[in-house]
Amino acid sequence: MGKTIIEKILARAAGGRSVAPGDAFVVDVDIAVLIDSNFFPVYWREIRKVADPKKIVVVFDHRIPAPDRASARAHAVGREFVKRFGIERFHDVGPDQGISHVIAAEWGYALPGSLLVCSDSHTGSVGAFNCAGRGIGGADVVYAAITGETWFRMRPTIRYDIVGKLRPEVVSKDVFLSLAHTYGDHRQDNVEFGGPALADLSLDARRTISTMATELNAGFVVFEPDDLLIEYVRKRNPSPFEPQWPDPDATYKDRRVVDLSAMEPLVALPDAIIGNVVPVGQAAGEPIQQAFIGSCANGSFDDLEIAARVLAGHRVAAGVRLLITPASQAIYRQALKAGLIEVFTEAGAIVTSASCGVCAGGHLGVLGPNETCITASTRNLKGRMGDPTACIYMASPATVAASAIAGAIAHPGEFIGNMPS
């Protein structure tokens, strides 16, 4: 019987054993990513042994630069751990820092055909790289670092074939919102993306979709590999890897065609995504106090570029705070060289260093009572970005930028429609 991509990657990680939907099984982990959150007392115990320091990556991303003493202490614990075990792949606050899932992409840690784990729920982000990634929580990632192993329950796979072409004002965040609207809850099923239009989607665009698949309640998510991906990875990591394609007779729970040509800018209304998505026009005019572009899902160069195309020559409306977080310092530098940071600051936006802060309602850009925010990040759950009475709308970076200019939720088409791409 033919296998899906995820079944092949997990079978290899399980030592060649065949894994079928329903099975619980133990796997060898290729890369375990630890983040600064893992070194706080609520998660941490002193680790006395690791399976292989070369298979561990440490990235500080959630609370950086340290906003308080507890964070500073956790960072010190993390640095001590790195030193004790001689971990070379360490991304401390500095030029090589970024949000862990983006670092996994930029540094080629997410090798096609491999298995990567991290505590964080958006680890499926690396699926855009044909890499099986999964958030496994703070205790299990410590277990994986120590033993080199973890466990999963196998789920069936849903296949999406992507066809068509996006209009200029429609971006991959809208593709995700459309999937949420059309197909809803994926109930932990694995998701595989492929199809003829994949080649037209940049790796950044694919990464937005793979990251956001967590919000569909998807299990593993993987994209088919192609030349664009393989060339990108080879430039960043000399290690050998084996990309995985699905067998022609792979068994899928369902097979769905996604037509990009039919998509339009969408917005998720506050508190939930699934069952809560409408065309931007239906929410247009809703006044906002904050707008955010960033996170592991929407802090890529592509995201910043389209935001700059909307913002160029405009000003953020009075009474609106537009916060922009490039997802890594490398993206920040790239945006600086391309003139995007100038566009943002001239427009009145605040550009922050790379962190999960605003998206997670942690230590940056926290919302106050009864405020309304439109965000291009990962979640709009009640209380996610601060006060539980705040309303969080979710949309693409283009729609968020257009809304920041208008001072209320606005369609990006009027700002982007006539621009050369």
């Binding site: 706080f40 115990r45 205790a139 120590i146």
Partner: protein, 183 residues
């Protein structure tokens, strides 16, 4: 058998509701005050050790934060839900909270009723109505982790991690966390 009063919750209960982002790194006592602050303010004060939670589908959706720890600290004896997301479920295993998927359980219970859970045959009984439901069976090894404090006590027993810091809400620090009452 485990038996206790149940708290009834709905579908799609997120970890942002159980453990809001700003509370994750607070000392335990302060962190517990924010459990369900957005939807049921004061809930944590009214929970008694040995109580159970009954909820709908997709329990624990969202962030990976160690939200099961807060339930454990409050003494929740068992979480029963129509369905539990994979990540939350494995955090129940690895941080030590007894959790069972039991289709239909939300519809079978009203708040304040008493539930009985058997870990021998994974049945759930509504003591008030007498109705019996079958929960999904859980491998013995995972049950042991859930009732034994998760993976940290296991790793500690093998000399792979250091002891819990008794002054902190360390994972697996059973001294700081009262065991749920098992009848």
């Amino acid at each position: 058998m485990i038996a206790g009063r149940i708290w009834k919750l709905g579908d799609n209960i997120s970890t942002d509701l159980i453990m809001p982002g700003h509370s994750v790194y607070l000392p335990e006592e302060e962190r517990l005050r924010f459990v369900f602050q957005a939807t049921r303010p004061g809930w944590a004060k009214n929970v008694r050790p040995g109580d159970l939670i009954v909820a709908g589908s997709n329990f624990g959706t969202g962030s990976s934060r160690p939200a099961p720890l807060s339930f454990r600290s409050l003494g929740i004896a068992c979480l029963l839900a129509d369905s539990i997301t994979d990540l939350f479920y494995r955090n129940c295993v690895s941080f030590g909270l007894l959790a069972l998927e039991c289709p239909g359980v939300a519809q079978a219970f009203e708040e304040d009723q008493t539930a009985e859970v058997s870990l021998e045959d994974f049945t759930v009984r509504n003591r008030t109505t007498g109705r019996i439901l079958q929960a999904a069976r859980v491998p013995e090894r995972l049950v042991q982790l859930m009732v034994g404090g998760g993976v940290f006590p296991l790793l500690e027993s093998e000399g792979l991690v250091g002891p819990a810091d008794p002054t902190e809400a360390s994972p697996g620090n059973t001294r700081a966390n009262p065991s749920p009452s098992v009848i």
